[in-house]
Symmetry: C4
Subunit: 123 residues, 4 copies
Amino acid sequence: MSIGKRLWVIAEGYIPEGGAHADDPRFVSHETACMINIGDQAAEVDITVYFSDRDPVGPYHVRVDARRTLHLRFNDLDDPAPVPRDTDYASVIESSQPIVVQHTRLDTRQAELGLLSTIAYCE
Amino acid sequence: MSIGKRLWVIAEGYIPEGGAHADDPRFVSHETACMINIGDQAAEVDITVYFSDRDPVGPYHVRVDARRTLHLRFNDLDDPAPVPRDTDYASVIESSQPIVVQHTRLDTRQAELGLLSTIAYCE
Amino acid sequence: MSIGKRLWVIAEGYIPEGGAHADDPRFVSHETACMINIGDQAAEVDITVYFSDRDPVGPYHVRVDARRTLHLRFNDLDDPAPVPRDTDYASVIESSQPIVVQHTRLDTRQAELGLLSTIAYCE
Amino acid sequence: MSIGKRLWVIAEGYIPEGGAHADDPRFVSHETACMINIGDQAAEVDITVYFSDRDPVGPYHVRVDARRTLHLRFNDLDDPAPVPRDTDYASVIESSQPIVVQHTRLDTRQAELGLLSTIAYCE
């Protein structure tokens, strides 16, 4: 069984700086690209990050193994460069195998968390 | 009238452990797959749960009766095994009849609730 | 210009009872179907509400005028019957003209509000 | 590489008035249309705002440069007229080039923020 697409876009991107819970990784503000690969072959995934006022950066490379999910925090990307905080960005995700991508942000700049999520765009 | 699809994917999954409201079922942190079957025949639904570091678990089986909705909490699944807490997962939902699936999380790890929701992916 | 579809489904539905702000209509917990009719003819819209354990109720009828938006609170529906609180439901929206539908919940059971939103399903 | 569509609709729109953080632009309640233009040509974008009880207003014009993202706050639109606060609206976004649009609201009417996001509708 194969399901998904090879090209996805997340137009929203913003990792808030700081917050009330910097000492607990679960509650550090973060944005996540949730990816699932239902197929039998590992998916090689390239992520390019777009900005409002400078050239795109990337690709960042990750692998999603066969029959696995990967919830990738943009906070953790650092090669070729960390994703800047408090900065608008967007991302394009290209995969060698069909995958499904969903986008989530946990915002803990204030004492109580905020959450958002949406399916990414594919065509 | 028939509407919907037979194959759905939710790439995001995470049931937070604990929280401020463990004594009130309405406010226990949970993730829900909201399903609606508009047709005249019951939908037999198989759910498989994918992880980042182990083989998929399932299928979990539920029925959505004709002309009914079922808001299924992943917290309540226990056959063949409970869905682990504080663990990234994703899910694939296969139905014998066309259905529509929407995904929701209520996060009450902190005093004030957080909510997210998105339409699941279908093709 | 015409844009949209005539048949939409919202699988998630739940109007929380009570809350901290019952005296301020802006902050009463509510669910909304946001509809936009870009065309030149009024859209006659029928909404049917589905439940987990009883037959569907409806249709509820509303009109979305030409070149107008209507953000309809499910809380305000009362003909043929109010939408019960603290009850899982789902809804099917049928329109005589193409429209676009987005779903939003404001949850104010606690002191601080929670929000969710997603595009409805169409085919 | 070209990805996206030229016509997008956001049925939900509402900019809350006031709030607890009026002195910090990051925390002023706002609604944003996040747009990304992956192509090699600047996208000329026209936004028309629809209301429940009056004629549409617009177009508002913005440009999304080639290989750039623009996270446009509806709060900042003022030509031909500001978007009224505490008022239901919806928006239609037409672009000269393919783009992808995602919609986000940050609600800070109360001390703790609320967030929502969803992919816009395209066809």
